[in-house]
């Protein structure tokens, strides 16, 4: 009890500020004392870059901004700065992330800590600037830690935490903090901004395994024998697994300082006693919590398990909460075409498909999904399970209030308008 009281007194409240998710990330970067920021603007990430530049211009942040000409260069410059021995940050979305994809691998393989924010957005064609998780989930295999915020507070807290976790000698891998485009990036909500002293206490001076600078004739990344390459990959894998312990420690300590505990790789909302479980990532899992309460009022014992971390993967937590459920509903905001949502594939393998499992695809390209929609999804799955017993449905689209199994049967997709087709036919017949 005495210890608890002592811990409580350590909690130091910050300043509550209404701000957009992107601003929350910018303040986190400032509080983390990043010294180099290199980024290329892309909707909906832009505000992060603008805000950081504003903070630097006003003299509130001691950092240099490198105004690079592309995302490829943004991550490369951020990486160069990190290798040179300073805390460095970048941010992007969608096509920007696709453009820097090869650099992601290079950074992770070199084991130098770098932090990046990914403001999730659909990838074209056609153009769509709204939320989808295809971009962030494509980083899954690159060797970066990947965390996903549910709200703006978490976007700030996870960014500060990410610097600490990535710079821990047990980890030394780069990290991505994801936040949903517009839904968080542009939404204003109260965010408690911790004091600088608190962050300084939480985040030790920068640590990294080596630097590239004069006086040390080492080469990073020259050709390596195949066997050594494989061992290098094995070591990255071990470090990623080790990262979960580091996250738990850092999250607990952050909780002691701020009152906001992030020791869990997942956030569990009423999932212990639940018969049914929602699993998913990102902001809509907040709506899923409301849906859980609404469903419980109707006598259906639901719970919601949000994966706060995608890498390292919360295998143990998923199994602890998910294995014994009647059914697990995985909400996916992106699809691996022809199969299922990426989160479903991950969760399904962890649960060995023991419970009934339904992968629901929804909200792709910014389509609004709220708690009522999630209640509808739940009721549909419950009736499915009651009717058929154990089910395994990798991909069930929920689109504008209706359900569409991927097979059999037609999907409600629009076709090319007739006048466009006609024009195409005309052009084609002229050619031939």
């Amino acid at each position: 009890m005495a210890l608890e009281a002592e811990e409580k007194t350590r909690v130091r409240r910050g300043t509550i500020v209404p701000m957009r998710g992107n601003e929350a990330v910018a303040y986190a970067v400032k509080l983390s004392r990043a010294r180099v920021v290199a980024a290329y603007p892309i909707t909906p990430q832009t505000i992060i870059v603008e805000k950081i530049d504003e903070l630097i211009s006003k003299g509130e942040m001691d950092a240099e901004m490198i105004h690079v000409e592309s995302e490829h260069s943004a991550l490369a410059a951020t990486y160069g700065a990190a290798v040179g021995g300073v805390r460095a940050f970048t941010a992007t979305s969608s096509h920007g992330l696709m453009y820097m994809y090869e650099v992601l691998w290079w950074v992770a393989g070199s084991r130098v800590p770098v932090v990046m924010a990914v403001v999730t957005r659909a990838i074209g064609a056609p153009w769509n600037i709204h939320v989808e998780h295809s971009d962030i989930l494509s980083t899954r295999d690159t060797g970066w830690l990947v965390a996903m915020a549910e709200n703006n507070q978490e976007a700030l807290d996870l960014t500060v935490m990410m610097f600490r976790v990535t710079e821990d000698p047990r980890v030394y891998l780069p990290g991505i903090v994801g936040l949903d485009g517009f839904i968080l990036s542009h939404t204003v909500e109260p965010v408690e901004v911790p004091d600088q002293e608190l962050v300084d206490e939480f985040l030790p001076p920068r640590r990294q395994p080596y630097t590239i600078e004069s006086g040390a004739p080492i080469a990073m990344g020259n050709i390596i024998p195949d066997e050594a390459f494989e061992e290098h990959r094995m070591d990255m894998h071990e470090s990623m697994r080790e990262a979960r312990r580091v996250i738990e420690e850092a999250g607990r300590e952050y909780g002691k300082l701020t009152g906001r505990d992030y020791s869990g790789l997942v956030e569990c909302y009423k999932c212990s006693d639940a018969d049914y479980l929602f699993v998913g990532i990102g902001s809509w899992m907040g709506d899923a919590k409301i849906a859980v309460d609404a469903l419980r009022e109707k006598g259906l014992r639901f719970g919601a398990l949000r994966l706060r971390w995608i890498r390292p993967f919360p295998w143990d937590e998923l199994r602890e909460y998910g294995l014994e459920k009647k059914a697990v509903i995985v909400l996916d905001r992106s699809i691996s075409f022809g199969y299922a949502g990426p989160v479903f594939l991950e969760v399904s393998s962890a649960l060995e498909a023991k419970p009934s499992m339904v992968g629901v695809l929804a909200g792709v390209g910014g389509v609004d999904v709220n708690y009522e929609d999630i209640v509808k999804i739940a009721e549909h799955v419950v009736s499915l399970v009651e009717e058929k017993g154990r089910v395994y449905v990798p991909a069930l689209w929920y689109h504008l209030g209706e359900f569409y199994p991927m097979k059999p049967g037609p999907l409600p997709t629009r076709k090319t308008p007739r006048h466009v087709n006609k024009l195409l036919e005309e052009l084609w017949s002229k050619k031939s």
């Binding site: 209404p18 909500e189 708690y371």
Partner: protein, 201 residues
């Protein structure tokens, strides 16, 4: 939390035209709510934001935080920044979408207009903005006036909180002017008499 959402939270939808400051209005509302120890959230316009286009913003004010980020589909309060949005049938439909019998519309209009039987509070915010010289690039900026009207009509935040939020958002003369607009609108906001309204299907 579902109970909290239904009973202790208010969902608000702002309708304006690009450039009128609907998003800023929603943001200031959050600051005002926070000022009173409440929780608030402002979600900006979804879609291409172009000057003059019909723009939506959403806000939630709640006694305690609500973990929700979806759009507002069933608003308890609808704030209309541009009178024209209630005159064109197609736009009026969008404004009133999801409204129920206990919804309140707070509109910028010199005279009461037909809002399909929903309770209407109105104020001539355009006139107030012009009188105070709150005109940017030829456009009267009515968002702060409408916050004053919102405070009067619904009481979800006090006029003092609105004024504080405005003054800290724009320190100096601009803040004073906008605060004056909010105050005037607060005083001039009227409840439309029921008999004046023609209820349509």
């Amino acid at each position: 939390m579902y109970k909290l959402l239904r009973e202790k939270s208010v969902e608000i939808r702002f309708h304006g035209r690009g450039g009128q400051g609907a998003v800023t209005a929603a943001t200031l509302l959050v600051a005002a709510a926070l000022n009173e120890g409440k929780w608030g959230q402002a979600i900006p316009s979804f879609g291409a934001e172009r000057r003059g286009a019909h723009v939506l913003a959403f806000a939630r004010v709640s006694e305690k935080p609500v973990p929700i980020h979806s759009q507002v589909r069933w608003p308890k309060i609808i704030v209309v920044l541009d009178p024209g949005l209630l005159l064109v049938e197609e736009e009026r439909k969008r404004v009133l979408a999801g409204a129920s019998s206990d919804t309140i519309v707070v509109a910028n209009t010199p005279e009461p207009v037909d809002v399909g039987g929903v309770k209407l509070y109105y104020v001539d915010a355009t006139r107030i903005a012009r009188e105070l010289g709150l005109v940017v690039a030829g456009w009267p900026v009515v968002n702060t006036s409408m916050l004053g009207a919102l405070a009067k009509a619904t009481g979800i935040v006090s006029i003092d909180s609105v004024l504080n939020a405005i003054k800290s958002y724009w320190p100096g003369r601009l803040g004073e002017l906008n605060a004056e607009a909010a105050k005037r609108a607060y005083n001039e906001t009227k409840l439309a008499q029921a008999e004046k309204i023609t209820v349509t299907g």
